[in-house]
Symmetry: C2
Subunit: 472 residues, 2 copies
């Protein structure tokens, strides 16, 4: 225990001593527009992977490699010289969401800027900044331990998280030996509130689609043709409106079929978390909370499934007016899923509903995207409890265990293929604006988070390895 | 009569002799992107006005002036040396619709290109090309008549037709003496079919608005917040879907209140026009015609009012996916009106309906635009009959009298303020794609139309002036 305290203090000094330098390096990482969704950024995405790989080598990690996936590559690294100790696999992602609408950013999305104790950039919180914290913690602990870590450590940092981790599950299958671990640790989630750490033991799943409604072969003059053809924008509006009841339930037949109703215990766990509707309104800017009847706002965005339009468009969007009937109209839709919904089955149900309700006079094209199932793990496993101790030591407050509303596509595959529990220990804050303009990372959480990660490795190092995948 | 035949033949020879040169000059006119809806083109719009003014002077017209309106200027010109003869006022517009989506044009919208007997450019048919035909006809007739016209002629060519002619009605009021005429002639409409001329004696009115739905202050992460706030894109879809019944009637309470039901005579006049549904599907590309029950497709787009979404947008529209709840969503809407609907009253009815149906959790902003009433004139006035004779002489076929689905905002003001009948004698074709990519003008109609206009002036010159506004 004394050794642990000393190692942690030494690591902390090393982190503090190199803080300016490592923040500059993070800024260089954030400057790479590794937007996985946009093909024009394909080279940037690879450049970000190479940047991570180089840095992992510099940190003292071994076996560093880009694992090709058919899409964007994964970065792998390891340090496996602690026989008899547990093995942790750190997962994160170096790809980011698109930055648009770029005009709404206070400073450019790919020029990291510090303002008011926060680091602003696309990816600062989701997830480059948190990946960086892991790299720095590992480096500091290796130096503090004279080239030794208290546990075996592996990294798998992917480049397709923001587009559904399509190529990762087959890679995890293929590389199950190389990735074998006792526990998977992910920092891609948030505190419950400033000063209140959280460990997520549940995630929602995700399933997406794009809907296109096509009518005339070209935009028609609304005077010449108005009234005699179905307007694709009207038809799309009808289709989208019918996906919900007016009071906020998803109206798609079968949508809720496989949803496990939350237990009384889960509902009281959610109710126990601080939730202030006035603060919620202030933070989001909405005039009032709204959603599925019979559930609280906190429940709706954690333990209930949803269907959201992420974008819609068609016809003339410019200044002034253009009196046309648009040739086509489109919408992007994603569903957040809970246990035991199956992404494919949910998408098929939505498609069937749209096809059944297609208005006359238009053609309908529904393209189904990828999906991931929800995940839900016991909150009281030894790995969860060790993470809780590490967080409490550094932040002075025990974490709350939550179910997260977001999705990390690969978690169910880690659980199923590696047989390892997943600990979601994230350091972003609820108002970090991930996926939105002015994404940022709180620099207090950035600094303390590195130390909490190091503390977790020390906690794990003190445990006996338990999994079937302990290193030889 | 012999003199008329000779004058027309002489004018025709002059037109033919200068055809290449005058087509080049039209191309230069079309090259000016005089998009009245876009403020970035303000200078271009004025440049187009000056271009028209210069050409009117070259044609031998007098009193040429730019009449300032507070918006884009009007071009005025006159030739008033035929005492005892009628006065015709030619109205047209030199502004054009926006060219987007530019990517769908086969050749650039502002680089006029001849292909397959058609002239392709934004404004080729609507309305620069048709304005040009009037200028060329006046010039040829003046030369053929040794500097004399058989009637008094005035021109008023405006620059705001595509944005609702907002500043023109007060200008017509202000300049009622200068604009006084026995008949107003407008070439901004189409043949009924290739080879079948048409005179429109009715026009639909127009009324527009923009609807904005706003929820959160910024785009929200659909995992973190999905389910707990109203999605503005959903709310917009609900609002838009509710504007129609599923079978295609406008569902807004009061929308049809002031509509004069079409008479049996009007319905049989529409039914008498050739209309082929298979041809309609081929021309528009729609899988089937669709619209208000109880009316034919031809009736729906001529003698019935409509409400159309011209464009809608919100959230992420790019490649791939972005899992957000958009902060806002928008739609542009225009209604086509028939007698006796009042634009303001219709817009207020739509706004009231939207406000009444606003879904919870979002703010609604409805901005009402301008509007114009429908117009309907007797088809058997002497000026209409003279136009019919001129068209039949040149095109070898008597025109049909139709009610047009489109709108020309200023027509009701001409009728009311000048007390002059309006003759809509247009030369575009139904498939000219006005307001759409690849707008074009049939060069056969372009050539013959100039001659038909000259023939009309000769017809009018043989008539006694009838109006209260005969020149002194």
């Amino acid at each position: 225990m004394a050794e642990t305290v000393e190692l942690l203090a030494a690591a902390d000094r090393l982190l503090a001593g190199r803080r300016a330098e490592s923040l500059d390096a993070l800024a260089a990482f954030l400057a790479i527009p590794s937007v996985s969704a946009l093909s024009e950024h394909r080279a940037d995405v690879r450049r970000a992977a190479e940047f991570v790989a180089r840095r992992l080598r510099e940190c003292g990690l071994e076996g560093v490699a880009l694992l090709e996936t058919g899409g964007h590559p994964c970065v792998y690294a390891e340090w496996l010289h602690a026989p008899g100790r547990p093995t942790a696999l750190v997962y994160g992602h170096y790809d980011v969401q698109p930055a648009d609408p770029v005009a709404l950013w206070t400073s450019p999305p790919f020029a990291a800027t510090v303002r008011g104790g926060r680091l602003y950039a696309r990816g600062a919180a989701d997830d480059k900044g948190q990946v960086w914290m892991h790299l720095l913690a590992a480096e500091a602990l290796l130096r503090a331990g004279n080239g030794r870590l208290p546990l075996n450590l592996k990294f798998i940092i992917e480049g397709e998280e923001e587009i559904g981790s399509l190529h990762l599950p087959p890679l995890v299958e293929r590389e199950r030996e190389r990735l074998a671990a006792d526990v998977v640790v992910i920092s891609d989630s948030a505190f419950h509130a400033p000063g209140q750490p959280a460990i997520a033991h549940g995630l929602r799943g995700l399933a997406g689609m794009e809907v296109s409604v096509r009518g005339p072969a070209r935009d028609l003059h609304s005077g010449e043709y108005g009234g005699s053809v179905q307007n694709p924008a009207h038809a799309l509006a009808q289709l989208l409106a019918g996906l919900h009841t007016p009071d906020g339930r998803v109206a798609v037949p079968g949508f809720y079929d496989d949803v496990l109703p939350p237990t009384a215990e889960e509902r009281s766990a959610v109710a126990a978390l601080p939730f202030d509707e006035a603060e919620f309104r202030r933070e989001t800017g909405v005039p009032e909370a709204f959603g599925e009847p019979g559930y609280t706002a906190a429940e709706r965005c954690r333990i209930r499934p949803t269907l959201e339009i992420n974008g819609l468009w068609g016809g003339f969007q410019g200044e002034g007016s253009k009196t046309i009937i648009p040739a086509e109209a489109h919408a992007k839709i994603t569903c957040r899923l809970v246990p035991d919904q199956d992404p494919r089955r949910v998408l098929e149900a939505v498609r069937a509903d749209l096809v059944r309700r297609r208005p006359p006079g238009v053609r309908l094209d529904v393209r189904l995207g990828g999906g991931s199932r929800a995940s839900l793990a016991p909150a009281d496993s030894p790995y969860m409890r060790a993470a809780a101790r590490a967080l409490e030591r550094v932040f002075g407050r025990a974490p709350v265990f939550t179910r997260m509303g977001g999705s990390i596509g690969i978690v169910p595959a880690f659980e199923a293929v590696l047989g390892a529990p997943v600990v979601l220990m994230g350091f972003s804050l609820p108002d970090d604006r991930i996926h939105a303009p002015d994404e940022s990372l709180d620099l207090g959480n950035y600094d303390h988070g590195q130390r909490a990660i190091a503390a977790y490795w020390l906690e794990l190092g003190a445990m006996a390895p338990s999994g079937p995948a302990a290193p030889a």
